[in-house]
């Protein structure tokens, strides 16, 4: 695009972001502050993920962007267009064909490979923020691995509801060291993060933090021996492809309680229906 550098950001800014990414990869799960820039998309729309993508994308990359698991949600369309316009890279909706995947709120159903990178958009990188709003305090707690507060919160859930009642943004321990937010993916997706062959990068633009989970890193969802982690999905089969193991969206079809359950991952669903493009 005229007047702008490849992938929008200037090279100095990309270098600054890459340094933060390297540090993040070296300390899995640790939030690294970085000098996030204002982007031409609003905060909350994925500015962190966009900056990370812009810093790692090359001319030969094939980019896939999903929001809520789907390639055709408006924000995914908008971000994919942004990179098609500013970097001129090839884009795809196929999880297999992509080398770089930017996502909001989902991990694709298709298992990712070593030669792929997944970039998560993160609204609030601090997993402790509901328990300790001060980021300065939370930082100390991370430094000391002082995560008792979170264990108590989970215990209170068990005491009150008989089970852990977190359904998304379910906290994980990365590499047995840092309590980390998986971003607001459904708890259903958490197990996919564990020992994933692909590099996982997390960008939070407004909060100005980057963190990472390197390939094959241990990612454990917090739980108790007698209350093990349970992923949640609607107990139905996909109304379009019949899948019984994918994460489902519930679509309201009328005002008399009519429901249709369909795969949230549109590429996965289309592939199973044999209509992949």
């Amino acid at each position: 695009m005229n007047g702008y550098n490849f992938a929008y950001l200037d090279e100095q800014t990309k270098r600054m972001i890459r340094r933060a990414i390297l540090k993040a990869v070296a300390i899995p799960g640790h939030q690294v502050p970085f000098g996030a820039r204002e982007m031409p998309l609003p905060y909350g729309w994925g500015t962190g993920g966009i900056q990370v993508t812009a810093a790692v994308i090359g001319p030969d990359d094939v980019l896939k962007v999903i929001d809520q698991g789907a390639d055709d949600t408006t924000n995914a369309v908008s971000i994919r267009r942004f990179f098609a316009r500013t970097a001129g890279v090839a884009t795809t909706t196929s999880t297999k064909a992509a080398t770089l995947i930017q996502t909001r709120h989902r991990i694709p159903e298709t298992a990712l490979r070593e030669d792929q990178i997944i970039v998560y958009q993160v609204p609030i990188p601090e997993p402790l923020y509901r328990l300790e709003p001060s980021r300065a305090e939370a930082r100390k707690m991370h430094a000391l691995s002082e995560y008792g507060l979170m264990q108590v919160k989970l215990y209170e859930d068990v005491a009150r509801y008989g089970q852990i009642a977190i359904s998304y943004d379910y906290p994980v321990m990365v590499n047995d060291r840092y309590l980390t937010s998986p971003s607001p993916i459904p708890a259903f997706d958490n197990p996919k993060m564990h020992r994933m062959p692909a590099l996982q990068l997390f960008g939070a633009g407004r909060e100005k933090r980057i963190y990472a989970v390197p390939p094959y890193t241990e990612v454990r969802s917090l739980d108790f021996d007698d209350h093990p982690f349970r992923p949640i999905r609607a107990p139905h089969a996909c109304g379009l492809c019949g899948a019984t193991d994918s994460y489902l969206d519930e679509v309201v079809t009328n005002d008399r309680g009519g429901r249709l359950f369909v795969c949230s991952d549109t590429d996965h669903c289309a592939g199973r229906q044999g209509t992949a493009t």
Binding site: D67, A70, V77, R106, K208, I232, V251
Partner: protein
């Protein structure tokens, strides 16, 4: 099918943008707004957008206001997103507000002072009656009376009080150039240079509310408006290859020095302290609110009891940026159905278990 309808798509976005462009232009039969009209006649809006967009450029701010249909936070965002693409060539020398070419200068703590009180183009003593004469075009106000420019210097109030040692000395942070909020992330504890930078581009409404809260007892700082001045200051940079300062232009700023009571401590005699506010353009409300909040945030440093929102540095600085705030608040309208679905299933599961427990109890 309903499923397709909820998933947006490229055409929907294109159509929305086309509609937006049409709505922005308004009724085609009316005269289109010119940037010179916005910059010339809506100057206070331009000033606010420059301050919160943290870029001094009246023309671009006017463009942003036009593009944003007068939504000033959106305009500030447009300006920020442009600003961030600009290379940083140099940092200016500190501006010298003592040598400001004054358009307005008032002090609420002295009846008269060297240089005098200068009201300037203020609305302070207007009666807020709608001027229906303005509704019809053709307004030609008579020229305002003029006087010879005074050669008298206008020392800053703080310098006047400072001679007696009645007010604290300006503390310069320990050496080195000031940090740059636009390049480095905000972190805590935040030094005063970063605090002032953050406040300077913080949301006027947010700072106004916090400053007001301190006056009503939530972190009272016993303020007096020591001095407010507005006018033009010269910007200088020192290019490394020259080694001396050269002027690169001038900007309009509003500066507010609040004078605040301070009881003193065992080691420091009682003296006045101060809060400082500075904003681009003629932005008096912003500068005053900023000065109140700046002083409130010094509670801990001065050993005062702290607990009010305005005294909580992390709270204030983390939430005063309206570009960040509007982004995160408004992102709630983006799709969240994956997480909502997870919550639905979670809730159904919890309710089912409660129901079966109740049933079991009833059976006993």
């Amino acid at each position: 099918m309903a499923y397709v309808a909820v998933k947006g798509g490229e055409r929907a976005i294109d159509n929305a943008h086309a509609w937006l462009a049409e709505a922005r232009r308004g009724e085609p039969a009316t005269v289109e707004l010119g940037l010179d009209q916005i910059a010339g006649q809506l100057g206070r809006a331009v000033d606010r957008v420059m301050a919160e967009g943290s870029l001094y450029d009246p023309e671009l701010a006017a463009l942003a206001i036009k593009q944003a249909q007068g939504d000033l936070i959106e305009a500030a965002f447009l300006l920020r997103a442009f600003r961030t693409t600009l290379p940083r060539f140099a940092a200016t020398e500190p501006i010298d507000t003592a040598s400001m070419r004054i358009r307005r200068r008032i002090s609420a703590i002295y009846k008269d002072l060297p240089g005098g009180q200068v009201l300037g183009p203020t609305t302070d003593y207007t009666h807020r009656l709608l001027d229906f004469g303005l509704a019809a075009p053709g307004e030609k106000p008579p020229p305002a009376p003029q006087a010879e420019a005074t050669t008298e210097t206008m020392p800053r109030m703080a310098d006047i009080l400072g001679h007696e040692g009645l007010i604290e000395r300006e503390q310069s942070e320990a050496g080195g150039p000031p940090s740059d909020l636009t390049r480095e992330p905000l972190s805590f504890p935040a030094a005063r240079d970063i605090r002032l930078q953050t406040l300077a581009r913080g949301d006027e409404g947010f700072l106004l509310a916090l400053g007001y809260a301190t006056q009503r007892g939530y972190g009272n700082t016993h303020p007096f408006a020591g001095e407010i001045r507005m006018g033009e200051v010269t910007l200088e940079i020192v290019p490394p290859e020259l080694g001396f300062a050269i002027e690169i232009g001038e900007i309009t700023v509003t500066e507010c020095q609040m004078v605040n009571q301070f009881a003193g401590s065992k080691t420091v005699p009682a003296q006045f302290t101060r809060g400082y506010g500075l904003a681009f353009g003629f932005s008096e409300r912003k500068a005053m609110a900023m000065a109140l909040v700046d002083r409130a945030m010094r509670a801990e440093e001065l050993g005062e009891e702290a607990g009010a929102p305005a005294q909580d540095v992390e709270f204030v600085l983390s939430h005063c940026d309206n570009v960040e705030a509007t982004g995160f608040v408004e992102h709630l309208k983006l799709p969240h159905y994956v997480d909502f679905q997870s919550e639905l299933e979670n809730l159904r599961r919890l309710r089912a278990e409660t129901a079966s427990t109740l049933q079991a109890e009833a059976a006993e």
